[in-house]
């Protein structure tokens, strides 16, 4: 069996991933390109005597060095030298899509063009003379329909044939006009000494990129002579054309494409008003667009949590059952440290994370549908005006909204943001969107202190979170993530019916990523937190005669977490907290809802105390004022995110530094806000 390395490149929304999915099926692996958070997908496809290892490169419009995606694509093609590059082209939008193809031709890679979604092009009345176009471009073209698995064999055949007989040099197919060509010649002449770079990029491509002022290529240590020649050429061209040479070059490329298409692509219907325009007239309507969006998002959440509660319940029972089974059939003593590690550390730690898997899968199921149908771009469009005011893009709204469900998938969803500063700002404020795990805390405390105004107080908490997120986003964008607000430029792709296969693959990949986190970082931290809540153990003698619940209390107070809780009492006193609340807060780092069970232990009511437990609420009413109850909610809302969030922030930002920054930033913010609220309300005798 002969192995071939194939790369899929193409514009966003060209159906590239659908075609990739159709060829590789479920045999896919997702990773990251080294050092960046751009997803790297590859899969295997067998055809005749060949095993094709296909890489689905990120969707890009061009191959400049301005975005991570473009750089990743270019570097992959240049460094890995795939046997064949397939440029997937949206057949109903050939001109714009061929821009990428032309640049691939200039790199002189073995190229095949897949004119994808050719059925839609036909419906739109576009007729191709493929023979003619293929001749003009010097590369083979194959018609495909990715979502119906049509044309796959033809594409594979073409890939195999190109791999064994690569087409003639395509790097000088485009003639840029005598002025630019002359300058290219001048620069090429100076390049003779750079054997390595010429070998790597090809002489013409290298010269072209230098004239285009490509920052990455310019930084590869050229001699002063070459840099001088480039500068002179650029200045010369600028004087002739009155515009930047890179723009003129882009214009010429489009000119070449127009010329090629004029002879080979015919549109039989003039200026169609297609279905997408009609849908857009409603969905992006100035007044009803926003309400429709809100209703859709509400439905997504309802669906996620409604259908999610059943499997979540099953998983909870399963983990509870396994803990009981292991305890029951444990061969050693019931006080064994190993048993406690397995049951209280591993099972409850990992179980606490895995139970959210159904919700995450359902949420990403819905998000994939919204994304693949093209609606997500409209949502960003609708929200842009509002989000722009806090220095973010319309697209930031979606992850922030998911944050109300759970911060972890929300942080994963920030990948839709291209701009790093926007993305990091969004990640930092996501925990301020009050997630589902904080709800038990609110239920406990509103029930204890605000029985008559539960809904109102909860609404105040949620709105405080949103308000703080807005303020913090503005603050972060103005300070550490400062930078010109990269203007909003985005394509509104035509509406399409998502394919089930694509949606399921996407959902599975996100779920798997979440599980892998649960299996590694979260498991590790859970074990550490378990140990901190268990050790050091008090003397057996001090537990004598105590009930099980009282013993739990003594043990917790004696443990590291208990000691930390007592230790920080001085610090948290000004915000109205005592050591009991402190201990529960430290424990809540594992997962927010743990606060409730920790409070149960502190009050010797046992760890299984429910949030709605009347006994616990009564005890709280005796010990604390409504103001203190409110301050605890406020602190839980803002302060340090849970372990899973920290792990995901680390994963998505690529550095512990940002994860740590998030923890410290939010905790300090929580302290300040709570301090102000507690002290001023105490001063004014409100809620005391």
């Amino acid at each position: 069996m002969k192995k071939l390395n194939i790369a899929f490149a193409g514009n966003p929304n060209s159906g590239k991933t659908t075609l990739f999915n159709a060829l590789t099926g479920a045999r896919q692996h997702v990773g990251n390109y080294p050092g960046v958070t751009v997803e790297k997908k590859h899969g295997i496809c067998k055809y005749k005597d060949y095993e094709l290892n296909i890489v689905d490169l990120p969707g890009t419009y061009s191959l400049t060095a301005y975005s991570v995606e473009e750089l990743v694509t270019r570097d992959y093609i240049i460094d890995e030298r795939p046997d064949v590059v397939v440029d997937v082209i949206d057949s109903s939008n050939v001109e714009r899509n061929l821009y990428m193809a032309v640049q691939l031709m200039e790199m002189n890679v073995p190229l095949v063009l897949a004119f994808n979604m050719s059925d839609i092009a036909r419906q739109n009345g576009i007729i191709f003379d493929l023979k003619q176009l293929s001749l003009l471009l010097g590369v083979p073209i194959v018609m495909t329909v990715g979502n119906k698995s049509k044309g796959l064999d033809e594409l594979l055949e073409s890939i195999v044939s190109v791999s064994s007989n690569p087409p003639a040099n395509t790097s000088d197919r485009i003639h840029y006009g005598s002025e630019i060509e002359e300058e290219l010649q001048n620069i090429q002449r100076t390049l003779d000494g750079e054997h390595d770079l010429v070998e790597k990029y090809g002489k013409r491509f290298l010269a072209l990129k230098l004239v285009e002022d490509d920052k990455e290529i310019l930084a590869q240590g050229h001699t002063d002579k070459i840099l001088g020649a480039v500068k002179t050429s650029r200045q010369h061209l600028r004087t002739i054309f009155g515009d930047l040479p890179d723009i003129i070059i882009a214009e010429r490329r489009y000119g070449f494409i127009s010329g090629a298409c004029q002879e080979s692509v015919k549109s039989t219907t003039e200026l169609r008003h297609d279905i997408s325009d009609m849908i857009d007239a409603v969905l992006t309507h100035r007044t009803i667009g926003l309400p429709i969006f809100i209703v859709l998002m509400y439905l997504v959440f309802q669906m996620t949590f409604f259908f999610g509660q059943y499997p979540m319940g099953w998983l909870e029972s399963f983990f509870g059952w396994s803990a009981r089974m292991i305890t029951e059939f444990w061969p050693g003593s019931a006080d064994s440290a190993l048993l406690s590690l397995i049951v209280d550390g591993v099972i409850s730690g990992v179980g606490g994370v895995v139970v959210f898997l159904p919700n995450i899968l359902l949420l990403f199921f819905a998000i994939s549908i919204l994304e693949d149908s093209g609606y997500m771009a409209r949502a960003a469009f609708i929200m842009d005006h509002i989000m722009h005011k806090i220095g973010l893009h319309g697209k930031s709204f979606i992850p922030m909204l998911i944050g109300f469900g759970c911060s972890v998938p929300a942080i994963m969803a920030t990948r839709i943001l291209e701009n790093k500063r926007n993305r990091f700002t969004t990640i930092m404020v996501i925990p301020l969107m009050s997630c589902g795990a904080r709800l038990p805390i609110y239920i406990l405390l509103t029930g204890a202190f605000f029985a008559n105004n539960k809904g109102l107080v909860m609404a105040i908490i949620y709105f405080t979170g949103i308000l703080l997120a807005v303020v913090c986003a503005k603050l972060l964008r103005g300070t550490i993530f400062k930078g010109k607000t990269t203007p909003f430029v985005m394509e509104l792709p035509p509406y399409r019916v998502p394919t089930m296969r694509g949606v399921l693959i996407h959902m599975w990949q996100k779920g798997w990523m979440y599980l892998r986190k649960a299996g590694t970082i979260i498991l590790g931290i859970s074990i550490i937190l378990w140990a901190a809540a268990t050790y050091p153990k008090p003397d057996e003698s001090s537990l004598a005669g105590l009930s099980h619940e009282e013993a739990q209390n003594v043990q917790l107070k004696h443990s590291i977490i208990g000691r930390v809780g007592v230790g920080i009492e001085k610090v948290i006193k000004p915000i109205g907290f005592d050591w009991k609340i402190g201990t529960a807060l430290v424990g809540a780092f594992a997962a927010k809802e743990v606060f409730v069970s920790q409070m149960g232990i502190v009050y010797s009511l046992g760890a299984d105390t429910e949030a709605s437990s009347e006994a616990l609420q009564k005890r709280l009413q005796v010990d604390y004022t409504p103001l203190q109850g409110f301050c605890v909610m406020l602190f839980c809302l803002i302060s340090m995110p849970c372990v899973a969030t920290v792990a995901m922030t680390r994963h998505e930002t690529g550095s512990w530094m940002w994860a740590l920054f998030q923890v410290v930033f939010l905790t300090v913010l929580a302290y300040i806000v709570t301090l102000v609220v507690y002290q001023s309300a105490t001063f004014m005798h409100i809620g005391v």
Partner: protein, 82 residues
């Protein structure tokens, strides 16, 4: 070429056809927009232009959303008989 007077894209109205004169958004964005088909003299149709919020243009068969901040930096010419 066209000797029509240049105007800001923000003044264009929905349905109007314009030809691109120049973009002043820094090299990076200029180049990105060029890659998306917004090169000098290209004909674009305004899909929607509310007084605030982003504007939508149709360039070479695809709809592109441009943020308000962007719109003011794009100069266009009116095209009468498109």
């Amino acid at each position: 070429m066209n000797n029509e007077i240049e105007m800001s894209l923000s003044e264009a109205i929905a349905g109007q056809k314009v030809s691109l004169a120049s973009i002043d958004a820094g090299q990076e964005l200029n180049s990105r927009l060029a890659a998306m088909g917004m090169v000098p003299n290209v004909i674009m149709t305004i899909v929607s232009n509310a007084s605030s919020g982003p504007l939508v243009v149709n360039v070479k068969g695809s709809k592109i959303v441009l943020g308000r901040g962007m719109v003011g930096r794009i100069m266009v010419r009116n095209v009468n008989n498109g």
